[in-house]
Amino acid sequence: MSPELINLIIQATGESLYMVGIAALLGTAFGLPLGVFLATSRKGELFAAPLVNRVLGAVVNATRSTPFIILVVAIIPFTRLIAGTSIGSTAAIVPLTIASTPFIARLVEAAIREVDGGLIETASSFGASPIQIVLKVLIPEALPGLLLALTLAVVSLLGYSAMVGAVGGGGLGDLGIRYGYQRFMPEMMLAVVVVLIALVQLVQSAGDYLARRVNRRLRHR
């Protein structure tokens, strides 16, 4: 493979990492509080607001059921409003973030619900406020699950990022389609797939490692 092509792969990998990294960060920033709220706002719970819970739940479901490629195109005006342009890697971060936020929120919700309800009662019994319960009990206790959720979200984002080529987002998926498929360069397609596999492996291993590090439930010294 020529040096130019290798440079293309390196550049596309950088774009992918940039889009996925920023979208994962933003998705977590929005998805974590949303997930915590979804997990704690049903009737009788810490931040009981059953109506808001149902409305947010419906919005989350609607966003998750929209195919990503349709979402990308449908929100182009919004993307332009936020990023100033609707084309390029930076613009692609907008739909990636919007797609990953409800995904992360549902994963966070599931992880938070796994925390033993007795711990919430315990913290309440010594006078912890709802915010203190979230910050000192729920999130630390759910941390292994949250890290695995984030790992899953990053892996999914790598897959989504292949589709943003449709709006000139660049990245590995775009490279694979344009060179590997449209220009009949199977070796390019193969190279892209290999890099993606390596990236997913790396992310998954790192996530598993971190989740194990913080999991004190079964660890014995």
Binding site: D116, G118, L119, E121, T122, A123, S124, S125, F126, G127, A128, S129, Q132, K136, V137, P140, E141, L143, V214, R216, R217, L218, R219, H220, R221
Partner: protein
């Protein structure tokens, strides 16, 4: 502690002192006034009257046992004390404050003076023993240095100073509950609520934890409210007992008083668990309804009170000039009072039996004729 005690001779039969019921105790730490608690119907399940007409007081500095079967309302009752639940009617006064009227920040401040320990310990798996104990102090806004000093003090108090950096998954059940106790005591509460705190522990560990609670009560003067479905736990630790059944207080008072003279069937069934009223199989299988020549009549004598059973066999033998044999005996101690029964064999003729039963009733012993053995 079902010790078959030796029957010492020479101590007089003592009668029980009249003990004032807890409700008239002037200095109450916790006072329930006209409490009822109803859980409304929800998703097709009918509403539940968990507690009704609850009026009693828990004396300051006491160890009070609340005993009842599951579903009797014990957990609801204890959660009214620390404001985790609100009564449907009535007030709960804790340390002269109406905790049932508090909410938000005021309630959270009041909750710092009420510690609670749980059946399943409820420790954070993500925190070490020391950090679990530190949690209520962090929540109360203590400085790092103060927390460190207080945690070291508490770990020593509960006897696990060497487990400072251990995670709950590395501790035994007893050690976890010690962490739970230290955590509950961290903010120097005046009341410690124990919700079945020993129900998940083996008998030895249970006893060690109960001893620790007794020490804490004695040394720190913390009022302890002990929720339990195990009579043996209430008996070992509590001075005052409240018996709950189907949301009602059916009996309350001094532990010895309640269990030497149980009135309600529930209390009697709790007592039977400890002292047992069944005969040894080898004896029960030999008892027949009709007397036989040279056989013995079998009489069971209930023993209630300090030293009550000690001299009965010797005196019976001496005063009536009879050969009295002791077929079976089970005497336990509850709150310093002896509770149990003696099964005696006396010569099998009708008039001897009548004489023996008359003698026993003269000394206020409750006795029954069970049959005959050869």
């Amino acid at each position: 502690m079902n010790a078959h005690q030796s029957l010492a001779i020479g101590r007089p039969i003592e009668t029980l002192e009249a003990i004032s019921p807890a409700a008239t105790e002037p200095d109450a730490m916790v006072r329930f006034e006209g409490i009822s608690k109803t859980y409304p119907a929800y998703r097709g399940k009918p509403g539940v009257n968990a507690l009704q007409n609850i009026d009693f007081a828990i004396p300051r500095g006491s160890i009070t046992g609340v005993i009842g079967r599951s579903g009797a309302g014990k957990s609801s009752l204890v959660r009214l004390i620390n404001g985790l639940e609100k009564p449907t009617t009535g007030r709960v006064i804790v340390d002269n404050r109406d905790i049932s009227a508090l909410a938000g920040r005021e309630l959270r401040l009041a909750q710092r003076s009420i510690g609670m320990i749980f059946q399943h310990f409820n420790l954070l798996s993500s925190r070490t023993a020391a950090d679990n104990i530190a949690l209520p102090l962090e929540i109360a806004g203590w400085s790092k240095a103060d927390i460190r000093a207080r945690v070291a003090e508490l770990l020593a108090l509960v006897g696990i100073a060497d487990k400072h950096d251990r995670y709950p998954s590395e501790l035994s059940g007893g050690q976890k509950q010690r962490v739970g106790i230290a955590r509950a005591l961290a903010t120097r509460p005046s009341v410690l609520l124990s919700d079945e705190a020993t129900s998940a522990l083996d008998p030895q560990t249970t006893r060690a934890i109960l001893d620790l609670l007794a020490n804490i009560n004695r040394e720190l003067g913390v009022t302890i409210v002990l929720i339990t479905h195990e009579m043996s736990v209430a008996r070992q630790l509590a001075k005052e007992v409240v018996v709950l059944d189907a949301g009602h207080v059916v009996e309350s008072g001094h532990v010895a008083d309640i269990f030497t003279h149980p009135k309600h069937p529930i209390t009697q069934s709790f007592l039977a668990e400890v002292i047992g009223d069944s005969l040894p199989v080898s004896l029960a299988s030999r008892i027949v309804p009709e007397p036989s020549a040279g056989g013995q009549a079998v009489i069971r004598v209930q023993v209630r009170g300090a030293g009550a059973g000690d001299t009965v066999v010797a005196r019976l033998a001496r005063e009536l000039g009879l050969d009295v044999s002791l077929l079976s005996a089970r005497i336990d101690e509850i709150g310093g009072q002896h509770v149990g029964s003696l099964v005696l064999g006396v010569p099998g003729s009708e008039d001897v039996q009548a004489q023996v039963l008359a003698w026993l009733s003269q000394y206020q012993f409750s006795a029954e004729h069970l049959g005959y053995v050869a």
